[in-house]
């Protein structure tokens, strides 16, 4: 169901007698001169700003605006005069109780002629999403990084030749536009308040609307180019980022359209193998790491949430699919992490070499007194173990069957009072997570060794890992 939205200029006197209108009316339907869509991706929300030319006569001019079978929030519909504003005034807005998805404006005019009006409203059902296609070179040193946006229109209305703008960022809404559109102007609670005359319903989402209206300035009218992909202009806007599609686009109801947002042709990246069970599960994964900055041929825009599809030129006139994964919003300057999963050519094993216990403390059977044979104390037959140190020796065994050196980074988490001893120059990621890095040459098998001492029972004085050179 498309093209359900109309604005009608009716004969004078009609608005005043809406409910008891006569059977014969004269009305004119001014077409849209232009329309601008500002689509938010964090909420099901689009701000529509459409302009029409209406011919007014002096005196009262009733205007009817209706939006059958669409998802417009009725509380958000506003009329503004772009020309002759000093001669035109909206006296009132009426939402007829028996006609949903319709309103009337009574406009008092001192003008006898054309004026350009602007109707703004929120609609749901139009969304956009980003996706990315990355293609690495065969050497896995640089990649082509392309970003796309895809707009989907399920709003019930065709938008022809619309200027399209997309907002990246998370806005706050107190009510969902779709719910407002579906339940009509007045919710039950509001209706009660309205009937008591305590709260003007038309102010229901005024604050949100005002905030957004402030953001919307005059659109950029760029001539449509037929032979080149449209540029998408990017600009910062408060906490948000605004993408404006060059020229205009027709977004038909129930259709989707995908356009290129940006591309970096020579984006350098580095490869790191990571073992971080809390982030990537209990396996060593291969990561492609790049940065969203200008030095990396990117950085023209933050990267909105979206799916990344990563391919590699396989050197045989074709591509190999490496991974597809979702990325979260990446600000300009931040690193982009692409997780390729386990690499069958880099083998990682965690091998325990030894385990032993010492530094025992015993509790006297009938009193809260502790004895240690290491301290020369006498231990009695009925004393029980109350504290000890558990020593473990481990290696992270890594085999590299690739023809290049690989950089590995290992981060493990240990609970309790733990001493971590190694010559791997470890650092602490947090109080219980030591981490260290190494490079494994092609064809090399390397054991990255360390010892752990877990202080148990009454020997445990802390709950944290300490590092010590071995």
């Amino acid at each position: 169901m498309t093209r359900m939205m109309t604005i009608v200029l009716m004969s004078a006197g009609f608005a005043a007698v809406v409910t008891a209108s006569s059977n014969i009316d004269l009305s004119t339907i001014p077409p849209r001169d232009g329309v601008q869509l500002t689509i938010y991706n964090s909420e099901d929300l689009t701000l529509v700003r459409e302009t029409r030319t209406v011919t007014f006569k002096k005196g009262m001019n009733p205007l009817q605006f209706s939006w059958a079978n669409t998802l417009i929030d009725p509380s958000s519909v506003e009329l503004r005069f772009k020309t002759n504003a000093d001669q035109l005034e909206v006296l009132d807005t009426t939402f007829p109780h028996d006609k949903p998805q319709m309103l009337y404006w009574n406009v008092r005019s001192e003008l006898d002629g054309d004026a350009q009006v602007e109707v703004t409203y929120f609609t749901s059902g139009i969304s956009w999403a980003a996706d990315y296609v990355c293609t690495s070179d065969p050497q896995e040193e640089r990649m082509r990084f392309e970003g796309f946006v895809r707009i989907t229109n399920q709003s019930g209305e065709d938008y022809e030749n619309a200027q399209v703008r997309m907002v990246v960022g998370t806005i706050n809404l107190v009510e969902k536009v779709r719910e407002l559109a579906q339940r009509g102007l007045i919710g039950e609670e509001d209706r009660l308040e309205y009937e008591r005359g305590r709260r003007p319903v038309s102010k229901m989402v005024d604050e949100v609307r005002r905030d957004l209206s402030m953001e919307l300035k005059a659109g950029m009218a760029v001539a449509e180019s037929a032979a080149a992909p449209k540029e998408i202009v990017k600009q910062g806007l408060s906490e948000y980022f605004l993408f404006t599609v060059e020229g205009t686009e027709t977004i038909r109801n129930t259709w989707s359209k995908r356009m290129r947002l940006f591309q970096g042709l020579q984006v350098p990246f580095r490869i790191q193998y990571r073992f971080r069970p809390q982030e990537y599960g209990p396996q060593m994964v291969r990561m492609f790491l790049l940065r969203n900055d200008r030095e990396s041929d990117l950085g023209t825009t933050p990267l909105p949430d979206g799916i990344v599809r990563l391919y590699r030129d396989n050197g045989r006139d074709g591509l190999s699919m490496l991974v597809q994964q979702c990325i979260r919003y990446v600000p300009i300057g931040q690193e982009i992490e692409l997780n390729l999963g386990v690499d069958p050519e880099v083998i990682h094993e965690w091998v325990k070499l030894a385990s032993r216990r010492d530094n025992f403390w015993f509790r006297r059977h009938d009193v809260e007194v502790y004895y240690s044979p290491q301290q020369g104390h006498q231990v009695e037959i009925r004393d029980t173990v109350a504290g000890w140190d558990e020593h473990q020796s481990w290696v992270e065994r890594i085999r590299n069957y690739r023809n290049k050196p690989v950089n590995v980074e290992i981060r493990r988490q240990f609970a309790g009072d733990v001493l971590f001893r190694s010559d791997l120059a470890p650092t602490l990621y947090d109080y219980q997570s030591p981490q260290f890095a190494s490079t494994i040459e092609p064809g090399q098998k390397r054991d990255l060794a360390y010892d752990l001492t877990f202080r148990q029972g009454r020997n445990q004085k802390q709950n944290r890992v300490t590092l010590e050179e071995r």
Binding site: D131, R150, R258, L319, V351, R357, T384, E390
Partner: protein
């Protein structure tokens, strides 16, 4: 179920997928596939790349790609121009409602043919691996065939297509709807094989618990390295069927097993069956609890293995013992790591231990067993393992 599912058309500007009222007489072309590559190297998804030559007019062309009854991931579909990538540009992509189709708006600076490549991820077109091996009559070596099995349930027919599994040969074959194609991807000859008999209670249990007789599985062991005729790439998971050349031009089926993923330099054990001619009876001969201090104890344990080889060949038996399982068996189960050391009162000593494969939780020995004698009597060999389990409470 229809055939020929994915198709592509080019139509004049603004003529494709527009409301019916605007469609007048139009000429559409249906360019066939010129080349198809099926990339099977990703373990999760299959990538199809197909090349077609499309006629383009000067200006903006609508190129329509449509499919039906096949599970193409529409989000993954890409078009690249191969013949003039600098000048032939994709302007945008439109997705009509309720249809498995999309339209690329492609700008071309001049009229003429363009070679394009369309790539997409497709479901239900996947692969598995299978192995077949034929051992020599003396079971010292074998020939190993690795197959890629392509299962096409995608409801799309592909003519002669290139296929690559990530390693091995690049193959070219047609594959039809609902076909499974088994393709030889690698063949290895004269691969040394080791017959392994393993006695490991924790791993394989008893054959006869009343008699404490262990189940002794027999496996073929292959090493995936160049010294053993392999090692070109990791061996992927798949079913392996093992035959033996009977020396008379025939072969006998020995058994089958799942070959696990085997990185290079790792060993692959293929379990073929239980060796009932090797009898291993295992008992615990000693369990002595010794107080260290307070309630802290050490345990002195001797495990005895009585072994008979009823084969007419000598064999090497692997004797393995899990220390956590042994500790549980003697009635101690603290849940802590087992702190243990080999004692000196057993016949199995540290010098006989396989240091490479012994871990903190499992000890492994190799024991040579003589064949049965001329009187068909097997020689009973007794081995003992002396273990001291320490610091338990």
């Amino acid at each position: 179920m229809s055939k020929s599912i994915a198709w592509i058309v080019t139509v004049g500007i603004l003529m494709a997928l527009v409301p019916a009222a605007s469609a007048g007489i139009k000429l559409i072309t249906l360019p066939p596939r010129e080349r198809v590559e099926i990339q099977l190297d990703n373990p999760q998804v299959t990538l199809v790349e197909e090349e077609r030559v499309v006629p383009l007019t000067q200006g903006v062309n609508d190129v329509v790609f449509a499919w039906a009854n096949t599970s193409i991931d529409r989000e993954s579909i890409q078009l690249r121009c191969l013949s003039d990538p600098e000048n032939v540009k994709v302007l945008s992509v439109s997705y009509p409602p309720g249809e498995n189709a999309l339209t690329w708006q492609v700008a071309s600076p001049k009229a003429g043919s363009a070679r394009i490549r369309i790539s997409y991820l497709i479901g239900r077109l996947d692969k598995s691996y299978a192995y077949q091996a034929t051992a020599s009559p003396d079971e010292k070596q074998l020939t190993l065939w690795q197959y890629v099995q392509l299962h096409n349930q995608s409801n799309e027919e592909f003519g002669t297509s290139g296929m690559w599994a990530g390693f091995g040969e690049h193959l070219e074959r047609p594959i039809g709807i609902n076909e499974t194609k088994k393709l030889l991807s690698a063949r290895f000859t004269d691969v040394p094989v080791q017959k392994v008999y393993l006695a490991d209670l924790a791993a394989h249990g008893y054959l006869d618990e009343g008699k404490r007789q262990l189940r002794v599985p027999m496996s073929y062991r292959l090493k995936n390295d160049s010294a053993h005729g392999l090692g070109a790439f990791p061996l992927m998971f798949g079913k392996a069927r093992i035959f033996q050349d009977d020396g008379k031009g025939m072969s006998a089926f020995l058994g089958e097993d799942w070959a696990r993923f085997t990185p290079r330099d790792d060993e692959l054990d293929l379990f073929l069956g239980v060796a009932k001619d090797i009898v291993v009876k295992r008992t615990i001969d000693r369990r002595e609890q010794k107080r260290v201090l307070g309630n802290l104890y050490d345990y002195d344990v001797i495990v005895k293995y009585e072994i008979e080889n009823f084969k007419d060949q000598s064999v090497v038996l692997d004797l393995a013992e899990s220390l956590p399982a042994l500790r549980t068996e003697i009635g101690v189960n603290s849940g802590r790591d087992v702190e243990w050391e080999l004692g000196d009162q057993g016949t199995l000593t540290k010098s006989q231990m396989d240091v490479e494969k012994t871990t903190v939780d499992r000890v492994l020995f190799h024991v040579e067993l003589s064949p049965r004698g001329p009187d068909d009597q097997a020689v009973k060999t007794t081995h003992t393992l002396h273990v001291r389990i320490r610091n338990e409470w």
